[in-house]
Every structure is written in C-alpha cells, then in structure tokens.
C-alpha cells in the first residue's frame, strides 16, 4: 500500500518482530507474563538463535552444541518465542503458555526442548555458564556459551562471584549479554542501586567489554559472532535497550515488567507492533 519504508527489514529484524508478536500474545493469556523484559531482549534473542548460536533443534543433545542460559529467566516468553521460531517445537504450542497441561511455565523448565537448565531465581545463570564453558574446555570442544543477564539481576552477589571465577579460569569462550534496559521490577535500576560505570566494573573484573545499542539484531550478531574479543578473557556485551520496546504505551516504564494484557490492550499492542515494523 502506501507504506514508505526506508529500507527492507533484515531477516533478523523480521525474526525479532515475530518474537515480539508472540510475546504480546502470550502476555494476553490468563496468567499474563513478563512483557517488558521479554521485549527488551527480543533483538538479542533473535541474534543469538538465528545467527550466533551453533545449535540444531533436531539434535538438542549434541554435545558440541553452543549453550545458552537465560539467566533472567522471567523473560521466558521471549525465549519460548525464539525457540519455537527456530523450530524446537511448533509455534502453535505458544498458545498453551501458563495454562494447565502445558509445558511452558512462567520460567524456563527443561521439559521445553532447547532449554538447557531451568532459571527464574535471579543470579544463577552466570555460574551455570561458567560450568558449561569449563566442561567444553575439559572436553576439548570449541563450543561457546552465552548467558543473558538482566541489569537489575546484577545486584545479586552471586553474579560477581561467577564473574570473578570466569576471569580467573580464563573462560574466553564464555560471553555474557547484559540487557541494560535501566529498569527492574519497582523502578529505575540506577535509582535503587546505581551500576555505572558498568563497563568499567566488568573491565576491572578482568572481562573484555563492549557497550552497544541493543536493538539492532544484525549489529548485535556481528559483535557476538566474533568472540573472543580479547584472548584469555571472557566477554560481556552491554546491550543498551528499552524495557517494553515496541509498545510506545509501555516503553521505558517499570509497569511493563509483568503484564496481563486485556483484550483491548492486546489489540493496541498488536497494532503498535505493526506500526513500529512499518516504520522500521
């Protein structure tokens, strides 16, 4: 029609758009879901599952596969959408999210194909990732390990215990992505416990750091595909994102954290995503 798109969307952008659409649908179900943090992670998940991760949905037990841990497990709806799009299970199954009889719980469980280990209690994922990376090294495998952390999650001390371990073990095939959306459950992360200078903090722990804009999946993939960035060091990509990204009426608000979308707001969200896509 009269759409005046500046350019065609890339494959990864289209995937991210589909992830967002699924997330919005799941959050309109009876239990709702962690909408804001799933939307801020959508481009990261698209980059991981459609460019970076060396995985095969048909061979989920392949010992040589790359490992991914969603440490901010509450973004489960985003992970489920990415896994379904990647072919781990039928996209139709997403409609069962949170409902009796489903295997799609509010936080990732191992019953779901593609989920490596269950998460949901914040602050566990990076230690798990260190374990994966160490096991790969012992086994002489090239496989890489990726861990997605929330920025509020960085307040958990266990994250920093694992950060120390990763650097001292020289886990260069371990990469962290921090979804730096600036918000946690109650409000602004920097109002509750300031994290800046975040890049310097990670650097002082012995990590290779890149601090980038977090909503261009092709750019994210370019960084993540090329690791390690510094020999002998684990890598951390600080992705500057917007919580609730794609839904102007929720973007940048902590009220986007957990949402049960009413039918009216669901329709509004679906419309908003279409508009954003067209403008893309």
């Amino acid at each position: 029609m009269t759409s005046t798109r500046a350019r065609r969307q890339s494959t990864l952008e289209l995937v991210a758009a589909r992830i967002r659409a699924h997330v919005v649908d799941m959050c309109a179900g009876p239990e709702g879901g962690h909408l804001g943090g799933a939307l801020s992670s959508a481009d990261i998940l698209a980059a991981l599952y459609f460019s970076v991760l060396n995985v095969d949905p048909q061979r989920t037990d392949d010992p040589d596969r790359d490992r991914f841990v969603l440490s901010k497990g509450h973004a489960a709806v985003g992970l489920y959408a990415a896994l379904a799009e990647r072919g781990y299970f039928p996209v139709e199954e997403l409609t069962t999210y949170g409902r009796p009889g489903s295997r799609l719980m509010g936080h990732p469980v191992r019953a779901v194909p593609g989920v490596e280990l269950p998460t949901g209690s914040l602050g566990h994922g990076l230690a798990l990732g260190c374990g994966f990376a160490l096991a790969h090294r012992y086994a002489g495998r090239d496989a890489r390990t990726f861990v997605l952390l929330g920025d509020g999650e960085l307040q958990e001390g266990s994250v920093w215990e694992a950060a120390i371990a990763a650097a001292s073990l020289r886990l260069e095939r371990l990469t962290v992505i921090v979804d730096r959306n600036g918000l946690q459950l109650t409000g602004a992360t920097d109002g509750i416990a300031p994290l800046e200078p975040l890049a310097d903090r990670w650097r002082s722990f012995g990590w290779a750091v890149r601090d980038v804009a977090g909503h261009d999946p092709d750019e994210l993939a370019r960084h993540l595909d090329a690791g390690p960035w510094e020999p002998g060091r684990p890598s951390v990509l600080i992705a500057r994102t917007v919580k609730g990204r794609g839904l102007p009426f929720l973007e940048g608000r902590s009220s986007s954290h957990y949402v049960t979308l009413s039918p009216r707001n669901h329709a509004r969200a679906v419309r908003a995503l279409r508009t954003t896509e067209d403008a893309g």
Binding site: G98, H107, A111, L122, Q155
Partner: protein, 311 residues
C-alpha cells in the same frame, strides 16, 4: 471477602511504622510497595535491590543495633537463597528480624518450581529460636503482625500472592496457640494456610454427615509448636490427618508426627505436595486441585483409614 495475605500485611504495617520508630521495612524489589507507600514510610522504607542474602545480613546488623526490620522477599528466596544469613546472622544471634515471605506454598502457581516454596516450613522450623507462622487469612495476618511487636527473637511469616477466602468466624488467632475450629472425638484434621484449613472445615462437615466427628485444628504456628492442644485433641481420636501446601516431609505433617510419636502415639497420615518438583503448569487453585489438597481427599483418607479392612 477474599484478600491476599501479603496485602493485608503490607497495609497493617504502615500505621505500625508510624507508631514505632524502631520498625523498618526492608524491600528487595518485590513490587509489593508502591511509591506512595515508600513516601508515607519515609526513612522507614528502604529498597535494597535484588540481593536477598545481603538483605538478611543488613537486617541482622540493624537489629543488633536496636531496630526491628520487616524484610520482604518471596518464601522461596528466603528459605533457600538467603538461608545462611538467616541461620547465622539472624537466628544464631536471636535477633528480632521479621521475615515476611510471600508466594508461600503453591501460591506462585505457573511461575514454577523456582518461585514455589514447598520446603520453607521444614527449613525454618528447624532453626533454634525461630518463630514460624502461616496465617490462614487476612485477619490472622493482621493479628500476627500486631503480636510480633511483643516478640523477642526472629519470626518467619509465610504469606500468599493472590486473594484467598477468609476463614469463617473463629476466635482470634494467637501466635503459639493452635486454633481449635471444631471439636469431635473420632479424628483430628490439622492444617495450615488458607486452602488447607478451609479443606479441613469442609471435610469435617462432610464427615459429620456420616456420623464421624472431627476436631479441626488450624496449626498456624509451627514453632513454638502447641503440643498441648494437639495431644489433647489426639488422645480420644484414632487418626490424625494433616494437610499443607508443602512437600510431604518436614512441614506441619512432620511436626505433628514427631510430636505425637513421643507424646501420644496415634496414627498420622500426611497430605502434602508429592516428593518431587512440580511439573504441572497452572495457577494456585489449579495446582491445589491438581495435587488434590482438598476436602474430598481428606474424606477419602479418613474413610480408607477407618474402613474395617484397614483397622
């Protein structure tokens, strides 16, 4: 009217903060307190971020200096993640920290095993000096918050998430004293928490219709345990059945079995969540029904235990 016990607690705390300047509300980004509440509470509210072990340690330090912290987190994170700080920094020192633990039992529903707390009562009631309570409704929650003011050592309060129905009119609950909601000489039904206690009452009604008289105990305090009331109720009875939103081991059923084995040997059957991590998806009510923590199950349990074949 149905009401969430966590909200009843939150709302009853605010006036107490004003009256008792030594109280302080320590949050860990739970979302239970909004900006207006924080404003009202002033310096007596502090969101320490997502760091539960740290939360307990800071509470212990404050308590050692005369403050009385109400710390807020989910039951799962208190009982597992922050447990060492609770054991060593709080319980060991007998400090008056009030651990306000939401999403107790199956209340986390579809959020899954990371957020459900099916171990917390076992873990907390084994700690020397810890008082452990499970209010069965909003009114009991308010009563316990008020009574905590006179309590010396640490206190663990297991709260819910979504609204749950109130108990029918009953004598006001007192920490440390089991509530006898109904008297009968044949069997004892003992529960804690909203749905289990309501199930006991409904089961007692159904059993009375068949001529089986049940005593119903709301065992809201797991420590110190009201041995006297339990033993008195169990003496004339041939059977005690417990029910709780907890793994079968170590919780209320464990406390009842341990107590009666020593003081008044009686057959005890324990109903709880089976000995495995929850795999079923669904909300609180769905999970309670799925694991059959219901009046019907209590009645069936009594029937089969009292049947001539079983005797």
């Amino acid at each position: 009217m149905s009401r969430a016990t966590r909200e009843a607690y939150r709302d009853s705390l605010l006036p107490l903060l004003h009256r008792h300047p030594e109280l302080i509300c320590l949050d860990s980004d739970t979302g239970l307190f909004n900006a207006a509440y924080a404003e009202e509470a002033g310096e007596q509210y502090l969101n320490l971020g997502i760091a539960e072990h740290n939360l307990m340690g800071i509470a212990a330090g404050l308590a050692a200096c005369g403050r009385v912290p109400f710390v807020n987190t989910m039951a799962a994170f208190a009982a597992s993640r922050a447990l060492e700080a609770i054991k060593i920094d709080i319980a060991y020192n007998r400090l008056p920290v009030r651990i306000m633990a939401t999403h107790g039992g199956l209340a986390a529903g579809h959020l899954g095993p990371t957020h459900q707390a099916l171990e917390d009562l076992a873990v907390m009631r084994v700690l020397p000096g810890m008082t452990v309570v499970v209010p069965a409704d909003a009114a009991a929650t308010e009563a316990f918050v008020e009574q905590s003011l006179g309590l010396g050592g640490p206190l663990y309060v297991r709260l819910g998430r979504k609204p749950t129905p109130p108990l029918p009119l009953a004598p006001a609950p007192v920490i440390g004293r089991a509530q006898t909601l109904r008297q009968g000489g044949d069997v004892v039904l003992a529960g804690c928490g909203p749905y289990p206690v309501l199930a006991c009452l409904a089961a007692a009604d159904a059993l009375a219709g068949e001529g089986i008289e049940a005593t119903v105990l709301n065992m809201h305090t797991l420590r110190p345990f009201d041995t006297e009331t339990l033993v008195a109720a169990a003496r004339p009875a041939s059977l005690v059945v417990t029910i709780e939103e907890h793994w079968c081991h170590g919780g209320l059923g464990g406390a009842v079995a341990e107590t009666l084995a020593e003081a008044a040997p009686t057959r005890v059957l324990r109903l709880g969540v089976p000995d495995q991590f929850v795999t079923e998806v669904g909300n609180h009510e769905h999970l309670v029904a799925h694991y059959d923590l219901t009046a019907e199950r209590l009645v069936r349990t009594v029937h089969s235990a009292l049947s001539p074949a079983a005797r």
